[in-house]
Symmetry: C2
Amino acid sequence: MGWQDYLDREQDRFVAELKDFVRIPSVSAKPENAGDVAAAADWVAARLTKAGMEHAEVIPSAGHPVVYADWLHAGADKPTVLIYGHFDVQPAEPLELWTSPPFEPQVRDDRLYGRGASDDKGGMFIPILAAEALLAETGALPVNVKFFFEGQEEIGSPDLPPVVEANAERLKADTIFSSDGLQWREDMPQIVLALKGLVSLEITVTGPRGDLHSGLHGGGIANPAQALSHILASLKSLDGMIAVEGFYDDVLPLSAADRAAIARVPYDEAAYLAETGAPAPFGEPGYSTRERLWARPTLDINGLTSGWQGAGTKTVLPSKASAKITCRLVANQSPERIFERIRAHVEAHTPAGVSVEVARLPGRADPFLVPAGHNATAAAAQVLEEVYGKAPYQTRAGGSIPVMTTLLETLGVHAVMFGFSHDDENLHAPDEFFRLSAFRRGQTAYAKLLEKLGGA
Amino acid sequence: MGWQDYLDREQDRFVAELKDFVRIPSVSAKPENAGDVAAAADWVAARLTKAGMEHAEVIPSAGHPVVYADWLHAGADKPTVLIYGHFDVQPAEPLELWTSPPFEPQVRDDRLYGRGASDDKGGMFIPILAAEALLAETGALPVNVKFFFEGQEEIGSPDLPPVVEANAERLKADTIFSSDGLQWREDMPQIVLALKGLVSLEITVTGPRGDLHSGLHGGGIANPAQALSHILASLKSLDGMIAVEGFYDDVLPLSAADRAAIARVPYDEAAYLAETGAPAPFGEPGYSTRERLWARPTLDINGLTSGWQGAGTKTVLPSKASAKITCRLVANQSPERIFERIRAHVEAHTPAGVSVEVARLPGRADPFLVPAGHNATAAAAQVLEEVYGKAPYQTRAGGSIPVMTTLLETLGVHAVMFGFSHDDENLHAPDEFFRLSAFRRGQTAYAKLLEKLGGA
C-alpha cells in the first residue's frame, strides 16, 4: 500500500500544516474575525491545489465564503464523491480556562490542542491528505472527487442554502461524506443513521391590555399565565406522551431490527443521570430512554415569560404570557404539518377569557434518516470495521444538522457522516483537542473509502 | 355653626398651606429625597401645633419618621379617636407628562394639581383643619384626638409595625379613621367594608443541573417548564374555580344582605372590559364579576420564568422553571393556612422526574372586614349621608392595605376609611390633582364626625 507509506512518511509535515491551519482564528460568530475566516478559506483553497486538486475556488456568499475544488479524471464509469466540512470555528472564550492559548496549537501526549483542532479543521484536513497520498502514489484517484467546505457552520450556515442551490450543477455527486462527525469512542466506530428534524414556535396568550393590579382585577378577568399553563399542560400527558392530536401520525414505527441496533449500543443510565443532574429519566412510555432520545419525536418548552420576573413580589395580573417550544422530529414527520397540528391543538385548548397566537420561529430542519441499504453507508461501515477491527454501532442523534438536509434537498443525496472526532475532545469548550491517533486513522480510512467506492 | 364659618373664612389660607405642603418633594421611594420626607414630617408636626394640638413629635423609625400629636382634654368619658394618614408621595416621573411641574402646585378649575395633592397630603390635612376649626371656635374638641401620620406608605410601610408596637400605649384609641381613602364619586359617598388579605409565594421546579441541549436530551428527562405547567394548571379548574384542596374552607359565605349591598352599587361590565382591554370577564362560577372582585378569594400567577426569553429560538431544555403567585384572601382566611394548603397541593401534583420547592415571598396581609354593627363605621356612614344627602354605597376592595391590619393587630381596633379623594384624580400618575370641593367637604365631614363621636 504505497499511499499508507506516504501517509506515514509525511505525518510530521501534516501535523505542522494542521497547526498552521489552527493558528488562523477563523471565528465565524465574531464580525472582527471575518478577515480570518476569509484567510482560512484561502489557506484551504491553496492546500487543495497543493494536494493536486483542480479548480480550487473561494466562492463568496452573503456571509463567509465557501471553498470548492475537484479532481474529475477517474472516468465516467466511476462515481463522483462530494466531501463536506467546515473551516470556521467556535469562539475561544473564556480564554483563561485554556492551558495553552487557543490559537497557538500545541501537541501534548499525541493530542493537538487548539480551537478547531477537532471541530472541524483536523476533521476536514483528513480527506484532503488521503486524496493527496492516493494521487501522489498512484497518479490518480479511484473515484471523481469534489471538495466543498464552508465557513459558517458554527453560526448555523445561514447563507449556505442559496450557495448550494446556485452551485448545484458543480456540486452534483453520487455520494456525499461529511468530515464533520464523531466516532463512538477511540476504540469503537459508529455509523450515524438518523438525525432529528426541528420545528420552532411560540405561543403567546394575551389577556388585558397592560399588566394590571392583581388585587383590583384578580378574579374579574382571566389571567393569561394561568391560561397558558392550561394550554401547555394539554400538550403532554402526565406520563410524557405528546397529546397533540395527530402528532405521532406520520412517525415511522421502529422495527425490531432498529430496536436491536439501538439496544446493542451500551447505555449507562446512572452515568446519564449523573451527567445531567436530573433526578430520574422521564418520557414517553413504551420506549427505553435511549430510544426516546434517538428515535422518538419530542416536544420541549424552551422558555417561559410572563409578568414579574425580578426579586420578590409584584402583584400584577400580567397582560401576556408566552412559551417558546421546539419539537424534534423523526423520519417522515414534516415541520410544517407538525406546526399546523400544534396550532390547531392550542386553539382548541385555549381557555375562555384570553386570546392566543401561535407563531413559527426561525429554526427548522427536516428529519434525516439514511435509507435502508444505502450504498455509501454500507461502504463506510465496511471501512470502519476494517480500520477498527469491529463493526460500528448504528447510532442516531437527537440533534439536527441542517446542512445534511440542505445537501439532501438540493443535491438529492443522503450524506454519510464520516468523521473522526470524539465527544470528549472539548468541542466548543476550552482546551479543545484532537487525538492525532484519530487524525492518522482517519486518513487511512478515507483512502480506503475512496478505493472501495472506486470498486477496489 | 361657628366652626363652619371658620372653615369658610380660612379656606384661602388652607389652600395656600396645602400648596406649601405639596411643594416638599417627599418621595419615600427615592433615597435622595429622604431629607424632603423628613422636612415634610417637620412641616406636619409644626402645623399640628399651629392647629392647637399638643405633644407634636417627629418619631424616628428604621426608615422615614412618623409624626404624632394629640389633644386629650375632652374628658375620660369621651372616646379617643386616632386619625391616620401619610405625608410621603409617589415618585413624579415621567415628568414630561405633567401639565405643570409636580412640585409647583397650581389651582386650575377648583382643582389643586401637584404630586401628593390627593394622595395623601390633601387627605391628611383635612382632619387637622377640622380640629383647628373646632378648637378655635369652641375652645375644645368634642372627643380626645390623636394624630398619627407616616412617611413610608408609598413603599409599603416596611418600618411601621415596630413603631406602632413600640408606641402602642401612646396610640391607644377607641376608634381609628384613615384619611387615606376614596369616595365613590364626587356626588356619591362610600363606606369600605372589606379589604382583601394577601399571601405571596413562588413555585420553583428543577430538572437537570443546568440548561441542556433540547436535541441531545429532549425525551430523555423531564422538562421542568412542562412540569410547572401541569402544576399550575392543577391549581385552577378551566372555569376559574381554585382547585387547591381546602382553599375555600375558611371563607365566610356572602349573606343575602352582603350580596344585595354589592348589587346596589352600579357596575358597567362593558366599561370594565374597555378599561382593562380584556376580551371577556372570567372567574369563579356562581358569582357576579363584582362579587368575585370584591368578596371572593383569588389566586393569580404574577410571573413566569424559565429558560430562553430572548428573541428567536434557543434549543434548551431548561434547568428550572418558576412561577410567582399571589392570593387575595377574604375574611377568616389566614395567609399561613392558605400557603400550607397550596404547598401540600403542589407537592401532591408535581409530576415525576423533577423536584419542586414552594417558598413564601415577602408580601402578606390579613383580610380586613368591618364587623357588623361597628360603631365608628355607623357614625361615618351617618355623617356621609348628611354631607352628601345620600346613603353611602357599601363597597369592598380587592387590594390590601397592610396598615389597616397593623393597626388592628397592635391596637385591637378596626380602622374606618374616611377619605375624600377619588380614583380619577391621577393618584400615582402625572397630573395628580385634588378637587378643592372635596377638600372643603372633607373638613366639614371630619368636624361633624368628631362632634357625632362626642355625642353631639
